[in-house]
Amino acid sequence: MIRKVLFGILGVLGLGLAQQTTLTFYYPVGVAGPLARFIEGYVNEFEKRNPNIKVNTVFGGNYEENQAKVVASIRAGNPPDTAILLSQQLYTLLAMDAIESFDAYMAKDNDLKQAVQDFFPAFMMNSKLEGKVYSLPFQRSTPILYYNKEAFREAGLDPEKPPQTWDELVEYAKRLTKRDSSGQVQRYGVAIPTEDRSTWLLEALTIQAGGLLYDPAGQGCRVLVETEPVRKAMQFKADLARKYGVSPEGVIAWGSTPGDFAAGKVAMIYHSTGSLGFIRNNARFPFGTAFQPKLVRYGVPTGGANFYLFKGSDPAKRDATLRFIKFMTGPELQAQWSLDSGYVAARRASWNLPLMRDYAQKWPQALVAREQLAYAKAELPVYSLQQVKDIIAEAEQAVVLGRKDVREATKEAQRRVNEALKPFCTR
């Protein structure tokens, strides 16, 4: 009798085990706010709807830390089933032979194929190479301009007319900079972070100055630092603090900028649309969002991170993995994610859902990033991504700090970038 019961229990357990698929999923959080909690919530929802799939989530830290963890697990021969990594990491991951394209699955799975066609084309630019799809958008953004409407009113500016050109930005920023009787700055006009290890905002300014930081036909091998638009972009950043005195001197940290804006210490900031949620919840004043001003044209790079599939992970788990990715990149979830975080819902279908419509009506600030997509370019796609970013960011910092002339800095950076790319780009 006892034996029978035992076998019965074992049998049920065995059955349960046989049906249960366990996935490993790494994800990063790149902006301010409790985003990890939201992602864990979505995963719980997925598990509730798919009781036979369990997802082990690994919160990997910021983008760089998460990338390091995923690469470490790949090197240890134990890659995750899926992970969210920067869309820009395509070339680095291909060079490691670490990822698989989605094409074979798209051929078999019509839902997946349709999903891929429903993403905003701008968000797919960093995903595709030679006609193949290597990643699917999840937390996607563009950098936008946030501005404090109360400060605008106080300075006699029209709060419904944000600056549209670089000149206007400087002029507005001068009026918005507030000093006390001793000359101490109470509020700066504008802050464009010189993010310690990124080129994102420099790319935005470069596009606005009529250039692009890379050659789109360069196959991840041609970075263009030594050009007039890049020089103009770097010089503009330096001038905001050093010439016009409307921005804090020195290198401005990426991480603390949304907090400074929400605290009313800076009247205008350049930041990711992904920070919209944080600013919405923390700013005690009405604020607006707008396209980033142009020098010769509007434009920003897209940003953010996508789902990847890894070679060497268990092929038997592919169905479950794809089911999970489809859920996370689906229209409903993308709409919810956009509401929670401020990231741009990457699916066009999301924007027709009642949830999203109500939200956009209440917070029209959320629409700016989507509209700006029409002017967006792919974000720097290059081998040795972090090394290249570090070299360019360092040159930019040297210019912003007044340590190097912009000509000299870009020339040296170009030489070093070419050097760093040599091992991958011998053609």
């Binding site: 310690d196 804090p248 001197e249 020195g250 401005i252 400074d260 800076v266 972090q386």
Partner: protein
């Protein structure tokens, strides 16, 4: 010293096992992967990291030791105020460095609570300026460890017989003279020990750099260990990261071999 126990190695097995598998084996592996890259090590970035680390040690080691000693001498005794000051100085030691550094992320913000003070110093945005960032990172290292060294010095002070200090006083030495002539020399075993600890701490200090500066601006806080991390886990250049680790390890070993006997000779172990 007696003859070594014949079965001693049996007792060493557990320790040796862990040392071999988690220290010596990875070390050899690193050497194997890193050796061929040794000649690529003279890059400007690596030399900069070496310079930053050296400067960091040069600043933080004497300052943290000095502060620890000063605090120990100041708070020796049992009065309530002294106990309070003692716990205040010691407090940063029990905080995780990351949390401690995060507090400074807020304090050193150009528009943060110290704005007026920073402006008076001419450093509106200390973390955004190469020298300011380096000094901030160093200061955090000093404040973090000084409390621990204070504790060592307090223990050291207790081993000094009161009669010696009193005798010096009777002979006419003032407070300062008796401190430098009697107390400090008698503390030299502690100073030696703390010195070694502080140097090791300086070479391993990297947490606040992760939190505050990420090696920047323009490489001003690019500590050797941070550079190893970046090379290995962000550029995925494991050979070069391995080579740099090798240099660090060999330097440390050489330093220890050179310094230990020399320092020991100058140490007063007998009261």
């Amino acid at each position: 010293m007696g003859r070594p126990l014949r079965g001693a190695w049996i007792f060493l097995i557990p320790t040796l096992f862990f040392l071999l598998s988690f220290t010596y084996f990875p070390f050899l592996l690193t050497a194997w992967e890193g050796l061929p890259s040794l000649r690529n090590l003279m890059s400007p970035e690596n030399l900069n990291a070496l310079r930053v680390t050296g400067l960091y040690a040069l600043i933080t080691v004497p300052l943290s030791i000095g502060l620890g000693l000063l605090a120990a001498v100041a708070v020796e005794g049992d009065s309530r105020i002294r106990l309070l000051v003692r716990s205040l100085v010691f407090h940063p030691v029990i905080l995780p460095t990351v949390a401690f550094a995060a507090v400074f992320l807020y304090l050193l913000n150009p528009l943060g609570p110290l704005q007026g003070f920073l402006r008076a110093l001419g450093w509106q945005n200390p973390l955004g300026d190469p020298l300011g960032a380096f000094l901030s990172v160093s200061m955090i290292g000093v404040l973090k460890d000084a409390g621990l060294y204070m504790l060592y010095y307090l223990a050291g002070l207790q081993t000094i017989p009161k009669e010696l200090v009193e005798a010096a006083r009777v002979d006419g030495a003032g407070r300062v003279a008796s401190f430098f002539r009697v107390t400090l020399p008698l503390l030299s075993p502690t100073t030696f020990f703390v010195g070694v600890m502080a140097t090791l701490a300086a070479l391993r200090s990297v947490d606040q750099i992760f939190v505050l500066t990420k090696g920047g601006p323009v490489g001003a806080t690019d500590h050797l260990l941070y550079r190893v991390y970046v090379l290995g886990f962000e550029y995925f250049d494991f050979p070069q990261a391995g080579a740099l680790t090798l240099v660090l390890l060999v330097t440390l070993t050489l330093l220890a071999l050179l310094a230990l006997p020399r320092l020991e000779r100058g140490v007063h172990y007998d009261a």
